[in-house]
Amino acid sequence: MSLRPLTAPWFHGPAGHEKIWLGCAILWCFVMSLMMPYWHFRGKQNSTGEAYTVKPADFLARTEKFVAANRVGTYKHPGNALLGEVPVVEPPPGGDAYLIGRMWQWYPALRLRQGETYRIHLSALDLQHGFSLQPLNMNFQAVPGYDHVLTLTPTSKGEFTIVCNEFCGIGHSSMTGKIFVE
């Protein structure tokens, strides 16, 4: 009885249908826990959390240096006054790129080559921001004080939008950025 104390001995091992279900459930939990390490060796999409501590001012300085050295153009967000103009920057294939999230823009815009691998340094200067690459729907966290390194290989061409998906104040929903893949 569920509502009164048990006075008869109640310790019995599982039996019958219950035992069958328990077996199925344990097996499934085992499969699920093996999938994650398996994907680290065989799968191509993993979040390793590679990161280094960095002062926001230092990260800004590194980004400005990266922009000055690799700038290839200017992108003007159509109809988005908050964002204004951002430089378009093309990192060398296999090289490092820097991306800042701040209220309320992603800076700078990046131009990448299909099939090349880049180390994207992602950080935030003021509040936490969410890097959400659309329409692919890939999401990573940008946290002030941490240089979050994403080793990324674009495999499709086109214009991609970075949406902010961590609440960062009143302009949050208009905070966007661009990645162009050629």
Binding site: H17, G43, G49, N137, P144, G145, Y146, P154, T155, S173
Partner: protein
């Protein structure tokens, strides 16, 4: 107080014998069950009004609120629903679980008053400062976002008040044992509540560890805590508190299926072990929220995500079997034996406590459980983190699961504890179904919009220029589901409050029956106690569940394999 016995059967102990169940009810516990449950329902109504406003804003075609009020109301909604409503109601459940089933008197009235007062003052402080516009930080208040100090202080008071209530629960268990109020082992409902209480202590200590330095920082007394440290410890509060809900909800499943159908756990040892698994392995769930964060490594993420081989998920899968299996055995013992599912059609689907429980099991398991485990898979989180898929998941666990189970419980708590029969009983019979439908639509809308990349906690999806008509359609489904769920919530609150004032008094007589299946002639209770193959229907249902789980899980790996390679 220590001179009087805490055995309710002892002469002179303030209590009564229930006219419906014949069980002893402690007057002190009864008073605080009433106070906490009513406060909980008031916060549920506040959070529900906020929910309606939010659903009508994210429904992009309606887009009701201005931007600042959207984020303000979102903060308000999260705290009132996830913290205040649930905690108040859970304290009521704890006071019930440690007294009536054990035949015990509540340890202390004064402690219960202190707990209640701290929780109420804290909740009101937090709500006041949010509505004043000085805490637009979301429920999670991720640093460096900073709210007014009163926001943190209010939450700390609620946490301390709850801890004191939990202490009263533990103390009652102790004095019940000491004064021999009962003999034998505590029943499963109390055991489940004990598991919830233990997890609550660990959870609230995490809350103290993270909220106190944040409060002192907001006062300017100490330096800013590290934002990643904050996320890690905050989710030790935020995620584990949901496991308190799971434990309380599962206890309510066992309680209500017992009250309505007379069902019992088919194996006490297995059910209790499952609760122990929750206590041992849920503590690591904080990692779910840090799966795409910097600075925490892949090994740490994997280990913590799978809670050491998903042993807490295993626990839920055990309860997901034993609860319907207990129902099936009880129904077959009553003589409803035709075919595999004859017992299902004979169930009292018009009894709101039963339909609420059954919907809670199905919505929690099929929708909430499957999505939760999948989204919490380390790599799959890349295509889900901070999208609407996340609230799409937790609205079917916490709302479709826990809140619906607690609503179902109210259909017995109010007659048995407040001793009034429900008004408008026909409306009550519809309420759980409408709520289940609304929440399911809401969650589908959120989940599908989230799969298309729509982010959570975002005021507007048109500014980005990347979301098409399909995303707008699913946000419309979200809006309609939200409106239906709110209507049902409003019906629930009106029924409860109306009953407290106008319900027919039932002192000394049994409560009006909501509908329970009669035992057919020639049947004996307990006749299937030793038949371990009597649960064919449950076996089929759980295997269907497992099949859905496998398909959804691997479909998500496929979706992940289609995005850009990343390490």
């Amino acid at each position: 107080m220590s001179t009087t016995s805490h055995n309710l059967a002892a002469p002179g102990t303030p209590g009564r014998v229930c006219g419906t169940t014949g069980l002893h009810v402690c007057f002190d516990a009864q008073r605080f069950i009433k106070l906490n449950a009513v406060s909980g329902i008031v916060f549920l109504l506040l959070g529900g009004i906020a929910a309606l406003l939010l659903a009508l804003t994210r429904w992009q075609t309606v887009h009701l609120l201005p931007v600042d009020w959207f984020y303000r109301i979102l903060t308000f909604h999260g705290l009132n629903m996830l913290i205040f409503w649930i905690l108040f109601f859970e304290v009521a459940i704890l006071y019930f679980a440690c007294t009536t089933p054990l035949n015990a008197r509540l340890y202390s009235k004064k402690v219960a008053w202190l707990s209640f007062a701290l929780m109420l003052v804290g909740a009101l402080m937090t709500d006041y400062i949010i509505l004043k516009g000085q805490a637009d930080v979301m429920m999670t208040s991720y640093l460096p976002l900073l709210a007014h100090p009163v926001f943190y202080l209010g939450i700390i008071l609620v946490a301390v008040g709850t801890l004191i209530g939990v202490f009263n629960f533990f103390a009652t268990l102790y004095v019940a044992k000491r004064d021999k109020a009962y003999t034998g082992s505590m029943p499963i409902v109390t055991f489940g509540a004990l598991a919830a209480a233990i997890i609550a202590v660990v959870t609230l200590l995490h809350g103290a560890v993270v909220m106190i330095p944040t409060f002192t920082y907001s006062m300017g007394w100490t330096a800013e805590p590290d934002p990643i440290w904050y996320r890690l410890i905050w989710w030790g509060l935020g995620h584990q508190s949901q496991q308190v809900n799971v434990c309380a909800m599962v206890s309510v499943w066992y309680l209500l299926t017992h009250i309505v159908l007379g069902s019992r756990p088919i194996n006490e040892a297995v059910c209790r072990s499952a609760f122990v698994l929750y206590i041992l392995f849920i503590n690591l769930a904080s990692a779910h929220h840090l799966l795409v964060d910097p600075a925490v490594g892949a090994t740490w993420k994997i280990w913590n995500t799978s809670y050491a081989m998903y042993l807490a998920v295993l626990a839920s899968m055990v309860h997901g079997f034993t609860v319907p299996a207990g129902v099936e055995v009880a129904m077959r013992e009553k003589g409803y034996t035709s075919g595999i599912f004859g017992w299902v059609t004979a169930l009292p689907w018009k009894n709101p406590a039963f339909s609420g429980t059954a919907l809670s099991v199905v919505i929690f398991g099929f929708l909430g459980g499957i999505t939760g485990v999948t989204l919490g898979t380390q790599q799959i989180n890349i295509i889900a983190h901070n999208t609407l898929r996340i609230p799409g998941h937790f609205h079917v666990t916490v709302v479709g699961g826990t809140t619906l189970a607690f609503m179902a419980l109210a259909y017995y708590v109010i007659p048995l504890i407040f001793q009034r029969d429900f008004i408008w009983r026909g409306l009550a019979r519809v309420q759980p179904w409408l709520f289940g439908l609304g929440i399911t639509l809401l969650a589908f809308g959120m989940s599908f919009a989230g799969s298309m990349g729509v982010s959570r906690r975002s005021y507007d999806i048109d500014a980005q220029g990347v979301y098409g008509p399909a995303a707008h359609l699913w946000l419309g489904v979200l809006g309609i589901g939200g409106v239906l769920a709110f209507l049902s919530l409003l019906i629930f609150v009106v029924l409860c409050v109306g009953t407290l004032f106008f319900g027919q008094k039932i002192e000394g007589r049994p409560m009006a029956d909501w509908g329970t299946p009669r035992a057919l002639a020639g049947t004996t209770p307990g006749s299937l106690a030793h038949d371990h193959y009597a649960t064919k229907g449950t076996m089929v249902l759980t295997l269907v569940f497992l099949a859905c789980f496998v398909v959804y899980y691997f479909a998500n790996w496929k979706a992940l394999a289609d995005v850009w390679p990343v390490r």
